[in-house]
Symmetry: C2
Subunit: 303 residues, 2 copies
């Protein structure tokens, strides 16, 4: 039926999985997996099933497992492990959130949009983000990694959420007298969604935000912070962004940032940074955490 009968070259696998070429080759050498075929020209060709398995492996490695233990194991085992990780975090979907997953699977873009919009209206921006969107996003990610959701369905979800949040943030009243927070992600980190959610929480608390988006070099962050007279910087770090390089970058930002500017670090990966951030770096490991922190901040200010 389809012309592309199911195998990809190494660059495509890197794009699809986020695993660098060098790592793919070295895993093959060390663990015997993946085990690509070869084309006429001796180049590796990866069957799609192996690529799917690699996606699972990637998620597990990102969430703390050692490649040692997971590369080459049966997809079923991996799926089980992945689900265990999810349960650990206590992911429990509300029925509404479940309905959205269902609508995504049905490719019903209107329903996804309207359900999300309805939930936002009912719960208000902050509760919507903290209680519904955060667990839903995790669930979508997991469903994507284990193949229960097509790539384009996951993409559609991201787009819809991004747009909805952008709109909601714009609606929120702004207190222009307050110094803004500067929002961004570190170099190599491309996930926008986490950043948008952080922006939503800040905005809901009346803190104006200037988002300069994903993938910003350290020196640029510092420069932008002073240039915009921001009160501080908030960085979002996704599960796969918790690399040693990111940890170093965070420390680097703190070192270059004037003492009177605050530095917030959040996201799925923030809690797993090694070496652990220290010294005037405020780490929050969930959006709930961030919201509470802002509450106490508010109280201190009004008191």
């Amino acid at each position: 039926m389809s012309t592309t009968d199911a195998s990809l070259h190494i660059a495509a696998v890197e794009r699809d999985t986020g695993i660098p070429k060098d790592t793919l080759r070295v895993w093959e050498r060390r663990y015997g997996f993946p085990k690509p075929g070869r084309n006429d020209h001796g180049e590796r060709t990866y069957p799609v099933e192996q690529v799917a398995t690699l996606r699972l492996v990637k998620q597990l490695v990102d969430s703390g497992h050692r490649p040692n233990r997971v590369v080459g194991r049966d997809p079923e085992e991996l799926r089980a492990l992945l689900h265990a990780v999810g349960d650990d975090r206590g992911v429990e979907l509300s029925t509404e959130a479940d309905a959205i997953l269902e609508a995504l699977r049905r490719r019903d873009a209107n329903e996804v949009r309207e359900t999300l919009r309805g939930l936002l209206m009912r719960h208000g921006l902050e509760r919507f983000v903290v209680d519904i969107l955060a667990p839903l996003t995790t669930a979508v990610g997991e469903a994507w990694a284990s193949g229960r959701l097509a790539i384009h369905e996951e993409h559609l979800f991201s787009e819809q959420v991004d747009r909805l949040l952008g709109h909601a943030i714009g609606q929120q009243p702004g207190y222009s007298d307050q110094a803004p927070m500067l929002l961004a992600t570190l170099p190599g980190e491309l996930h926008r969604l986490g950043l948008r959610m952080v922006e939503a929480i800040f905005t809901a608390h009346g803190v104006p935000c200037i988002s300069i988006g994903p993938d910003v070099p350290v020196d640029q962050l510092v420069d932008a912070c002073s240039g915009h007279r921001a009160a501080g910087i908030a960085l979002s770090i996704s599960a796969c962004g918790a690399t040693p390089a990111a940890a170093r970058a965070v420390l680097d930002v703190r070192a270059q940032l004037p003492d009177d500017k605050r530095l917030w670090v959040g996201g799925q990966g923030a809690g797993r940074l090694r070496p652990r951030p220290q010294g005037r770096i405020e780490v929050f490991d969930s959006l709930t955490d961030l919201a509470e922190r802002l509450d106490t901040d508010d109280q201190r200010r009004t008191a």
Copy 2:
């Protein structure tokens, strides 16, 4: 003053310039540029000036120059060449657009936002995108490549525009009776802005859109198109996305797509695809072009 006195390792250069590691090494071997130093461990360390030059080279290569002719040449010459390319396209900034560039350089986020919003109100979505945003985006890209605009200033611009367009698109009345267009970019192509502008034009013409965002594999596109009962697919291809792989992907999409679905291809890179797309693929090489095409479509329908 700054701790990072000005040299990057190869992975950072890849991220900053978009030039793959392999290509950086082979350019060094062939043309003697870039000429990185080495750290204690024998690894390449690229001085920031060379990275800046590489950014210029990248833009030139993306716009059709051969590496042969531009790699290793003086930054000043490159800048001149780049400007010549710009002039060819007839980039002439309105005074308002110029004011935005100026505001960006002053890091005045509010002014950027308000000026953009004002222009949108005054000219309407379509004229705003076609006459103002398109040339402005090109100018920002050029200014960034030649170092006249900091990276974070360019990022801020993208974020603001993205948000503004998202909002404007949401405001537009939707005709739900019409089959929607499916919008996306091909794998490896991460530029959102072009896509958003296309979406804006379609929406302004009353065509509902479902955007699944950047970086979508071919089979996913086809699947999504049928799943959402879309009238067709519109792909946006940026200057640096006009690779042979992209050209093949376009043909591939056409081959897998049912005959009754349309396929539109646009963006800076669309006109430079080799092998040139053919057979029921509608290429437009500027947003003006797209807008006109939609006009005639409208007339045919009402006639």
